[in-house]
């Protein structure tokens, strides 16, 4: 990391003066400053250098005003000391797979924002309480913001989990960015339906480089959930309120991120979280009873599905375009009980004639799709649109990608989409 972020004039200035990031330098402008040269964010201009002064503040100094710069000492940045994990043979074992996200993040000198950087081991070291609950093994699968994840990544995670399905681990934590965590949860729920161990997808809404991060409590609670309960399947484990007290375990196909920033952004749609991890006890929702299935991994996805939110003015040509581009299924986020306007009928009819799948969910998010109540619903049913009950639109999208990955037969696809695979539909 000799000149990260510096370019143009800045880079030239540093190279000329033989100064690298981490050097303690003395800079003379109108005044004299002493500090450590810090990296510069990529989107910043090339007219300034960044110093960390002795009091810890960072400042930008304009190169044009610098009269003299000299090195006082080289590379005074210390390496972090990571303590070794403790193990207690009496405790159960847990595997922590890291995929990225703010649960494991620190400053990114490329942009100045935060980036997923800490290894799961570092993370474990910063939350030592976990070692009192279980012995943790850690594995870094990849390190990505969750908005960058693709169905290929779901496959990687699913295959990794599958490889541990008969392992000695009591359960598995998957550290994940929060933005698309519910998509991954759904993907794992379908592709690993009947998975014999509990899997907790854990993220954080406040990055772990801040004292108020929710990461620690989410991780500790996930570890307790895996160790103390006797359940299996895919869960999302995140704060239940804005307080650092209760953590909710949401069933993987019934969960959604419903707030941009709050700690309790994740919510179970149309019901209560399956479990609540409290200070002294883990409470199970009395209504929670997931389907009992034998483990049947089918780790295949085909992403040629479009999720279309219907709105007044939606151009039906968009559907035609999707069809001509090779898309094989459309999931509508319809209005109300599951409707789209008459303008869409012709395009939908064309899709059906071509043997494609059209499924209906609701943009109301909560509640069931009932297409027999109004004429518009009945018309759509007649056209061959499949109502998807109270399946969450994102879950329906992921399920259709998974279904397409496993069959090319439209009748089979329609059957799978209406069959309850991973408790994605409830009554």
């Amino acid at each position: 990391m000799s000149h990260i972020g510096y370019r143009g004039k800045g880079l030239e200035f540093l190279t000329k003066n033989k100064i690298e990031i981490g050097d303690l330098v003395k800079v003379q402008t109108d005044s004299t400053y002493s500090g450590i040269l810090m990296p510069r964010y990529e989107h910043s201009d090339d007219e300034h250098i960044v110093l960390k002064l002795k009091n810890g503040y960072n400042i930008g100094l304009q190169i044009e005003k610098i009269i003299k710069i000299e090195v006082e000492s080289r590379h005074s940045v210390k390496k972090e000391n990571i303590t070794q994990l403790r193990t207690d043979p009496k405790l159960p074992k847990i595997l922590l797979i890291s995929t990225g996200g703010t649960i494991a993040s620190k400053i990114d000198y490329r942009t100045g924002g935060v980036y997923p950087a800490l290894t799961a081991a570092e993370l474990n070291a910063s939350v030592p309480e976990i070692s009192e609950i279980a012995n943790i093994d850690t594995e870094v699968l990849f390190s990505e913001y969750s908005e960058n994840l693709l169905p290929e990544h779901w496959i990687k995670i699913a295959e990794k989990l599958d490889s541990y399905s008969r392992s000695e681990y009591k359960g598995i934590i998957v550290a994940h960015g929060t933005d698309t965590m519910h998509y991954t949860a759904a993907a794992l729920s379908f592709s690993l339906s009947g998975f014999p161990k509990p899997v907790a997808l854990v993220g954080s809404q406040r990055s772990s480089d801040r004292p108020s991060s929710d990461a620690a409590l989410n991780l500790i609670s996930a570890a307790r959930f895996l160790v103390e309960t006797d359940t299996s399947g895919i869960f999302v484990v995140m704060h239940n309120s804005i307080s650092d007290d209760e953590v909710a375990c949401h069933w993987g196909t019934r969960v959604r991120k419903n707030h941009t920033s709050k700690r309790n952004a994740f919510q179970t749609i149309g019901g209560s979280p399956a479990f609540i991890v409290k200070k002294d006890v883990i409470e199970k929702d009395p209504l929670f009873s997931p389907l009992k299935k034998t483990y049947n991994p089918r780790i295949n996805f085909d992403s040629q599905v479009m999720l279309v939110k219907y709105y007044p003015g939606l151009d039906p040509k968009l559907i035609d375009y999707a069809m001509s581009s090779g898309y094989k299924a459309i999931i509508f986020e319809g209005t109300g009980l599951g409707h789209v306007g008459k303008v869409m009928h012709e395009s939908i009819a064309r899709m059906k004639r071509n043997g494609l799948f059209v499924g209906m969910t609701s943009q109301c998010i909560d509640g069931i799709v009932r297409m027999t109540v109004y004429d518009s619903g009945r018309d759509l049913l007649n056209l061959g649109v499949i109502p998807l009950g109270n399946m969450i639109p994102e879950t329906a999208l992921v399920k259709s990608m998974w279904a397409l990955g496993n069959t090319r037969d439209i009748n089979e696809m329609e059957k799978i989409m209406q069959e309850n695979i991973a408790s994605e539909i409830s009554d």
Partner: protein, 636 residues
């Protein structure tokens, strides 16, 4: 014990002034700067220590995290939002706060940076929901002129104010969020050697310069001074939370005495054969010896399943209780230290037997410790895990005592003393605020700021004198008071005399405060309203004090309520005539004896019942007429 010679100890004092800005919104969101009275929202948090940008832990943050308290926050949507709850990233920097900081920096001739980085200053005592205070260094250097001499400016920062502490108990801390995020300018001055009075003058001058910008909040708590005090050869002690200037003077005096006292103790220790405390050898569990102890502190701890530990300190007999100046003892320093870990207290050998600890117990402790004649010892009780941390700190503190004055952060008390708060924080508590990109300061902004530098406070006061025809003393009083803006608002109504307004605002209300009443219960809008009633002739001048008093002692909830409860202005002219007639009749002898001069005593009697209900001047006129007619009757 001797009197301290302040001039000979190399006393240096650096002021750090924190001034709240009156810029309408908070620094990183649009919430209003109001104090809420109700808090419908409550939530719980725990903070954890995190590493600095350079991968280090800050000592003061480590100390705070060792206390492991749960934090309760109370919020009201009128004065805080998701940003203060740490449930939403900060919004853009308030442009008007930025401008104000630049104006102040320009007025102090500070070198302002072109590119400013918002930093997170780690504070994990709960006073910031995020666990850090957002702060940015605006510039370094500059100077402030005080009585013709220049005092150097070290730095100017723009930062967020912290949440207000409601309650601090063993396991919990409670805060309200209305104050969190209010923009603050922090100005650090170069340490100077001077008398406490001179230091006070510097603070006053800086405060006036800030007030002259008319962009600052006024009132108790809106300006706070931290004071860095050191003496020759000692560490720098940062004293936090000095709210009033009178307190500042006392704090400096106290610290001078405390620090010099510690130096005397250190000198004494240099002549003794002391040793660093070895945990294995010198720290022993003595719980068994205290099972039937009568000390309340120990009893209470034992009920909660605590252990009692004793520490042997070689050759320290007589040191813990030694008092170089009244109230300055090493024993007291240790007491403050353990209390900040939430322990009830610590007992040292020089003060025992006492406090329910008896000779038999002392003998047992000495035996367990294998203590010699000249050894001192300490006894403390608490949860075993916590005790370990505390004992580490005690060992360090005793080592520091051999050197003299440890650098630490202390808090000012209301009485002007100081108590231990935490170790001095270092640079490792700084981390870049990744939620906000660097802030650029353009040359244009710098030019604009220079143009807006306010005139000096001396000129401001002259202007006040001219505009409102005030004498210089009243003008200065109102300028220094928290009511300057309110004064100017009230004086827009030309029916009210500015002289009277200023004497009520800077005199009457202060007097009521001195009697122990709470001026915070009296809102600016209440004061305006009362003056409005006065202008309309609905109440008498004398009523103001009565009204304000009822508001400040909580007997009335509004101006109208105060008027009603004190039966102000409910006396009709006819009734007034009857009352005064009766008064004249029942005091006829005095009138006969004293003639017109009887107006004095009679007026006094009349005002006893009528004060605030009827204008004094009116009573005087009526009474005079009645007395006159009485005299003329009797002389006929």
């Amino acid at each position: 014990m001797s009197e301290i010679q302040i001039n000979s100890i190399g006393l240096k004092v650096g002021l750090e002034v924190h001034q709240q800005l009156a810029t309408g919104t908070k620094l990183f969101c649009n919430c209003s700067l109001i104090e809420s009275t109700e808090y419908p929202l409550k939530f719980v948090r725990r903070l954890r220590i995190s590493r600095s940008e350079l991968g280090e832990f800050d000592p003061s943050a480590l100390f705070e995290s060792s206390k492991q308290k749960t934090i309760l926050y109370y919020a009201n949507p009128e004065s805080s939002c998701l940003v203060e709850q740490d449930e939403e990233p900060p919004h853009d920097l308030s442009p008007s706060s930025k401008e104000t900081a630049l104006i102040m920096a320009s007025a102090l001739r500070t070198d302002i940076f072109n590119e400013i980085y918002v930093m997170r200053k780690l504070v994990i005592d709960g006073s910031n929901t995020s666990g850090f205070q957002r702060t940015m260094l605006i510039g370094l250097g500059g100077s402030l002129e005080v009585d013709g001499k220049n005092v150097g400016v070290q730095s100017i920062c723009l930062e967020e104010d912290a949440a207000k502490l409601l309650n601090d108990s063993f396991n919990f801390r409670e805060y309200t969020l209305d104050r969190l995020g209010i923009p603050l300018v922090e100005i650090a001055l170069e340490p100077v050697s001077g008398t406490p009075e001179e230091i006070k003058k510097i603070a006053l001058t800086l405060g006036r310069l800030l007030r002259a910008t008319k962009r600052v909040q006024r009132g108790l708590g809106s300006i706070r001074q931290d004071v860095n005090v050191s003496i020759e050869g000692g560490g720098i002690v940062e004293v936090k939370g000095v709210q009033k200037l009178d307190q500042l003077e006392k704090v400096v005096e106290y610290e001078a005495k405390r620090q010099h006292g510690l130096k005397i103790i250190a000198d004494k220790l240099k002549g003794l054969d002391t040793e660093r405390i070895a945990k294995e050898r010198d720290v022993k569990d003595v719980t068994g010896a205290f099972r039937n102890c009568k000390s309340k502190t120990i009893q209470k701890a034992l009920v909660d399943g605590a252990a009692v530990k004793a520490i042997k300190v070689k050759n320290f007999s007589g040191i813990f209780g030694f008092e170089p100046y009244p109230g300055i003892r090493l024993g007291k320093q240790l007491g403050e230290l353990v209390r900040f870990f939430g322990l009830g207290g610590i007992f040292h050998s020089d003060e025992l037997p006492n406090y329910g600890i008896e000779e038999t117990e002392i003998q047992q402790v000495k035996k367990i410790l294998e203590s010699q004649q000249n050894d001192g010892f300490l006894i403390l009780a608490g949860e075993p895990k916590k005790l370990d941390i505390v004992i580490e700190s005690i060992i360090k503190r005793i080592e520091d005592a051999k050197i003299g004055v440890p650098a630490e952060t202390r808090a000012a008390t209301i009485t002007g003393e100081t108590v231990y708060l935490r170790p001095r924080p270092g640079a490792s508590r700084m981390y870049p605020e990744t939620d906000i990109p660097p802030i650029m300061i353009t040359n244009n902004e710098l030019e604009e700021a220079k143009k807006k530098i306010p005139r000096s406070w001396e000129e401001s006061i002259l202007e006040l004198q001219r505009q409102y025809e005030l004498n210089s003393q009243l003008a200065l009083q109102i300028f220094d008071s928290e009511y300057l803006d309110l004064f100017e608002t009230i004086c827009k109504d030309k029916r009210i005399s500015p002289n009277f307004v200023s004497s009520v605002l800077s005199g009457t209300i202060t007097n009521l405060e001195r009697r122990g009443l709470d001026s915070r219960l009296l809102k600016d809008s209440d004061i305006s309203k009362a003056f409005g009633f006065l202008a309309e002739g609905r109440i008498a001048k004398e009523s103001l004090e009565i009204i304000f008093e009822s508001m400040m002692n909580k007997t009335a909830s509004s101006i109208e309520d105060a008027i009603q409860k004190n039966a102000i202005n409910t006396i009709e002219d006819g009734d007034l005539n009857n009352i005064l007639d009766e008064l004249v009749l029942s005091n006829i002898k005095i009138i006969e004896q004293q003639g017109l001069r009887s107006i004095g005593p009679l007026m006094g009697l009349a005002m006893k019942n009528l004060r605030g209900k009827v204008d004094g001047q009116k009573i005087n006129q009526l009474l005079e007429a009645k007395i006159k007619s009485r005299i003329s009757i009797s002389s006929e």
